[in-house]
């Protein structure tokens, strides 16, 4: 049954909101729009809660909604003139960065992630940033665990290659 307890469980900051926000942020590279989309994801999840099947992980279900929301976002974005002034997400996350070196490392990685395919971007975020188990990632990406393993090997190699090429 849907009750206040379920609502509060759904909007758990550490377990649900922060991972979904990061996933969206690293895909769209805009801090404020990522927050808006995170709200949209939770609104959709709230409306779809009666359809949620408990055999799946709740977080995986949220990630699946987030993926679709990002797809919708890009579709809408194409309808408008693309904003050439790209928001630097590191500026919005400045409070969390400790050193200039850290900032440089993150900047390089974010730019290199941008050069990967969509699947590779997702696997880097889900496996290496969020540290999700392969079983859950296979649920989110609707692929076999073996395919996920292969994809993560290729993604990390590709990311390293881009970093080496651009940041030596």
């Amino acid at each position: 049954m849907i009750d206040e307890q379920n609502k509060k469980k759904m909007i758990d900051y550490e377990r649900c909101i922060a991972p979904i926000f990061r996933f969206i942020l690293l895909r769209i590279k805009n801090y404020h729009e990522a927050e808006d989309l995170t709200q949209t994801v939770f609104l959709k999840a709230w409306k779809g809660l009666p359809k949620y099947e408990e055999k799946n992980q709740f977080l995986s279900w949220l990630y699946a909604i987030a993926r679709n929301t990002i797809v919708d976002y890009w579709k809408k974005k194409k309808e408008f003139v693309f904003d050439s002034e790209k928001t630097d997400i590191l500026e919005d996350c400045q409070d969390f960065l400790e050193t200039l070196q850290e900032e440089e490392d993150f900047k390089g990685i974010i730019n290199a992630i941008d050069l990967l395919s969509e699947d590779q971007q997702e696997i880097i975020i889900l496996k290496f940033i969020e540290d999700l188990p392969n079983r859950e990632i296979s649920e989110i990406m609707e692929r076999s665990e073996e395919a996920i393993r292969q994809l993560q090997v290729r993604a990390i190699k590709s990311l390293k290659a881009h970093l080496d090429k651009n940041y030596g």
């Binding site: 206040e4 909101i17 926000f21």
Partner: protein
């Protein structure tokens, strides 16, 4: 940066990229619970408006169709009952009366008998039609009398 170091840096990003602390509150207010309980966001107001319009778009035509079925169905049933009341013998008059044709025969007496039978059947049919005409005449009289003022001498 080697692969191991890259993985470490990636896992550190989890702690660095965080949403604003008030994001859960904003989500809560969107879900219509929490601080702003009872107040709807603009998005929700628009959504509710669309939802209501959709609801009326379905309910109103459905109600009109149901009402039309009830009205026309009722009228049809009343007509059907009336026709049953005023037409106690629905088979009479409505069906075409067939005068039996004389059977073919080679005997002259048979032919004459058949002609007589046919003539009798036809004359019966004419009699029936005259009776119907008389009945209509009576009906007409009753109808025309209906419009007249009350005349106590008639009693």
């Amino acid at each position: 940066m080697d692969e191991k170091e890259l993985k470490k840096t990636l896992s550190r990003m989890k702690e660095k990229f965080r949403p604003a602390e008030d994001l859960p509150q904003r989500i809560l207010s969107n879900l219509d619970i929490g601080k702003n309980k009872g107040r709807l966001s603009n998005y929700q107001l628009i959504f509710n408006q669309i939802h209501n319009l959709m609801k009326w778009k379905i309910i109103v035509p459905l109600a009109v169709v149901v009402l039309a079925i009830i009205i026309f169905g009722g009228v049809y049933v009343i007509d059907y009952r009336n026709s049953k009341i005023y037409n106690p013998n629905p088979n009479s008059g409505a069906e075409k009366v067939v005068v039996p044709s004389p059977e073919p025969t080679a005997d002259i007496n048979g032919v004459v008998d058949a002609i007589f039978d046919f003539s009798v059947a036809e004359s019966n049919l004419f009699d029936d039609e005259e009776k119907d005409a008389a009945l209509i005449g009576i009906d007409n009289k009753v109808i025309s009398d209906f419009g007249q003022s009350y005349d106590e001498n008639e009693l």
